[in-house]
Each structure stands twice: as C-alpha cells, then as structure tokens.
Subunit: 161 residues, 4 copies
DNA sequence: TTTT
DNA sequence: TTTT
C-alpha cells in the first residue's frame, strides 16, 4: 500500500549504553532505550508533575549502527526517527508476548546526536552523511536480519524489553 | 525535561469501527486500530512482498473524539499524530503486561480524514478547527482520564490490544 | 553539523500537473505546487473561514520523480516529506530573489499518493519500495543537479514560483 | 479542508538573539533565524562538504513567545515545530515580495530547548507545560495578529528576512 | 492553481 | 548570522 506512513520521532536520553548484537548474517543490530518526559503543573493542586516514558530503539541501518556504537552512551541526548514495529516473541513458558519498538531500518531511519561534542569528535571520514553518499549497507529486511530469539536477553521473564 | 519529543505519525486504514468508552469523569475515550503497510521487491527472488503493521490508537482529546466518532469507520483512511505510551496492565492471572499505544492527548494530537468525503459531510459548526478556537476539552492527564482497568476488553487474555 | 534536522511534511492537493525538467547531467527534476488549507470558525462573527497556503515542491530523488510523473496530476492528494531550501535567483533586471521550496532529495524525501487508485494502478514491478531495495539514483547534490537558471519559467517576473 | 497537513520540524542554532515585536493588539511576536546544516563527503573528490540553510521562525503562540524570550539567545540549539507560511510584502519601491516562514501558532507549534541548561534554570511555575494546562493565549489568526508592515526591519531592501 |  |  503506497499511501501509508509509519514514523516516530523522539528526542530523549539513553538509559544505558547501547548494546550491539549480530544477525546470523553478521550484520550489526544496535539497541538501547531512551526516556522522554513531559512535565506540567497540576491544575488542582498546583504541583509540578513529570511523567517519563521509555522507548525501545532498534537499529538495523548499518551506518546508523556505527554512529550509535561510536558516539552514544548512557545519558546521551539523541534525536531518533524510525518506524513503529510490534514484535511477537515467546516467554520461557512458551506464551506469546508482544513488544513494540522504534525501528531504524535502512530507509526513513535517522539518528542525531544532540549533545555538545564533549568526548569524541566524529571521524570525518566515517561519520555523518557519508552513508548517504555511498549506500552499501545490508538489507535489513531480507534474510535473518532480526536477531535470533535465543539471543535476546528478555527471554527469561515477561518484561517486554 | 523540556528538551524532549515524543511524536508518532501514521497514515493508514482502520481495521474496525472506532470504540468509545468513558472515563469515570465521563469524558470520552475513543480507540481503534490502524494498519500501515510497506511493500518492496525481494532482491533475491524478485517477489513482491508486503508487511502490515497494526497500531493501537487511543484518543483522549475531546474534540478529536468527536471527529472520530462522527466520521471514522472500518476502512477509513486517516492521518494520526500522537505520542507513544506504554501502559502496564494485569492479565487474568495477575501477571503484568505492557501495551504500547499511540495516544492523542489534548496537545500535540492530530487526526485527519484522508478519504474522499463520500458519506458524511463534516458539520461546519462542530468540526475541524473549531476545537482550536475554543479549547474547552477535559484535561486528559489529571483525574481518572484513563479508563478503569476493568473496562478494558483485553483483560481476558494476554493479547496486548 | 550532525545534530541538525530540516524536515517538512505536507498533505495537500496539486494545483497543476507536475512538470519535468532535466539537469545538465540528464537527471529528472519534477516540480509542482500543492495547496494545504486550514479552516476554523471566527470567534467574533461565527463565520467559517478558510486559509489556503501554496507550497513549491521540487523532487531530485529519481525514484520519486518517476512516481510523480506516472501517478500525480492536477488535483491529486499527496503526502510529501522533504527539506526546506531557499534558493537564490535573479530576475530579469538582475536583482536577487529568493524562493523557498520543499526539496525531496535522495535521502529523507518521501512521497505518497493518498487518492484512491482510480486511474492508474501502480506497476508492481517498478513502483513503491523497489527504489528502496536497489538505490541507483543520481546524486542530487553533486554536479549540475539543479536546473540551469535559464530553464526556469519564473525568470520573467518577480513571482517566486 | 480537513485532510490537510502543513508541518515543519527543525533542529538548529539561532543566528542571533530573538527579537520581540508586538501586534496592534499588544500580543508578542517573537522571531529569529536558525541554521540547519548537512554535511557529506564528495564522492568524486573525497572532500568533506557542508551546506547550511537558514530559516525564519515566527512565534505567535504566547506561551512559546515567553519561552523564547526567556531562554533563547544567539547560538541556542532548539527544536522547532510549526507550519510553512508564505507572506507577501512590498519593498520600498512598492514591488511585491514573498517570504516563507516557519510559523508557530497557537496549535501545532512547539519549541524545545536542546542546550544543557547552563545559564538559566527554567522557572518551574511559568515554564513548560503550564501553557498546556491553562491555555489563555491570544488568537494568532483573528484581528491584527501579524505585525504591521511598517514595523518590519526588512522594508529597506529586497532581502526576504 | 488544489481540495472540502 | 549559528553550530560541529
């Protein structure tokens, strides 16, 4: 269906360092969780309130995997653009579970570092829009692009991330 | 945290007519599921492939609830903008479950009908940007804006929608 | 600068059929204008008002050019995603002029037909995500990707489109 | 037309401190310009290239005006969401000119500070989502919400900002 | 110049 | 005119 759009945009901070796994084909898959939060003043009590939302981000785009691995760490502030995808998996008891993730695939995915570049200066040869000039990353959708279920750390319980 | 963004944009079709429930305070809560899909040609086999993704949409914004109730039905094509929110609930066995939804709250939420207006012409007095000129909808976040758990149809099983 | 974002999203109708020109390198450049509109009820008079905004869209992405040429025409409803770009040009008197356009370049650009497929069914072999599997379009930024000034129809006057 | 979307999202840096003017009705109108930039490696020469784009941002939303006045200054990094609007004006010679701006009106507009809060901590009583709980800003579209032409600094020449 |  |  051509007239379809599935797009998520987040600005938030990483809760932990990114994790890299590999597909069976050897392609990197980087994942992390980021927090977004809203704050407002309660009309009734006048109290200041804040609500934090956690999002699971999974990167299949090879160039963005590299960026994430090199420059992101716990606490990094990022802009992330991807698509919503709900994945079905089984817990230890074999019961179906569902997890919704923000997926950065080859097309449409984007990732921007919003921190001041305190720590590492991007390597100008490998970073940024280079990916855009020389697209050579693996196809995230064909083959075994998704990690094998056994590789997931979440199989031990019912927590969906 | 002011520098935070949580935004989802979807264009897709409703899988069923919208459902309306009420909060304890009497405010409407409209929900439906929409499908987005991607198609591509498999590089290896040359086959045309399509993958459909289903999203749960929940509307707390009163004006958008009215629009949804009046103009949306199974098959309607819509643009939806909201925020990602993961809700925790318990299944019948009392085990925690998580469901991620696209929430259209009072601010930031948007809903556009993309169909040709075959069936019902929008009432110019009640529809569209009127909401924008006279904001009087309930506060989606204070009080019992979220439906009581018992009211949810998903408590009987582990399916997250 | 990595931490930068420049993105526009429009849903509207084409005012005219798309126009195709060619760069000196022979790459297609498709352009059209689309209208978006807002309506609201005047708080004071109660009158219904509408305001239409016109946007210039320019497509350098070769695959999206093809889609535009084949499926878009005057009146078509589209979703367009691109970046904002202000182009400087000279009018006949040699005075500088500026025009702001929504540019669909190779990356980040998107175009979706939102009409019911009344007229032409997309050719499943050439349309849609095929572009995504076999990226081979020309680089919109290097070389003479922008049309030569003499080819522009707007040089005769000061109207920026 | 309900099924219409006009939305711009930018992340960039302010080129100058924001300027505040007033409508005839006394409502604030804050404007500034922000730069976004892209960088890439030239495929032919291997050179690193960068292209900067400047955008005019105009805020009519009263709450966002306050945020801009209090926290933004030259060099600030911001996320801005608004709509594209092309304004017609006359230069000194009485010739029509057009300027395209990113307008943050009452609805749909958003503004987020992305800098580390080095200088001023947001006042928790006046900042952030308070605007969202107590909407009382002026209607940006009715009356003389746009600044009178004479007040614009750009009338002396043909530069559209 | 589109559309509802 | 910003920033990396």
């Amino acid at each position: 269906m051509s007239g379809s759009l599935n797009q998520v945009q987040l600005i938030g901070h990483l809760g932990q360092d990114p994790e890299t796994r590999r597909t069976q084909g050897g392609d990197p898959v980087v994942s992390f969780r980021i927090a977004t939060s809203e704050s407002w003043k309660d009309k009734a009590t006048g109290d200041r309130k804040e609500q934090t939302e956690w999002h699971s981000v999974v990167i299949f785009n090879e160039a963005l995997c590299r960026v994430a691995e090199q420059y992101l760490k716990k606490g990094s502030k990022v802009f992330v653009q991807g698509k919503l995808q709900t994945r079905k998996w089984q817990n230890q008891a074999g019961v179906d579970r569902y997890s919704t993730e923000v997926v950065l695939a080859r097309f449409g995915g984007d990732l921007k570092l919003l921190d001041k570049a305190e720590r590492a200066a991007p390597d100008p040869d490998n970073y940024g829009q280079t990916r855009i000039r020389e697209p050579s990353y693996a196809d995230a959708r064909s083959g075994a692009a998704r990690p094998a279920p056994a590789a997931r750390p979440d199989l031990d319980d019912d927590i969906p991330f």
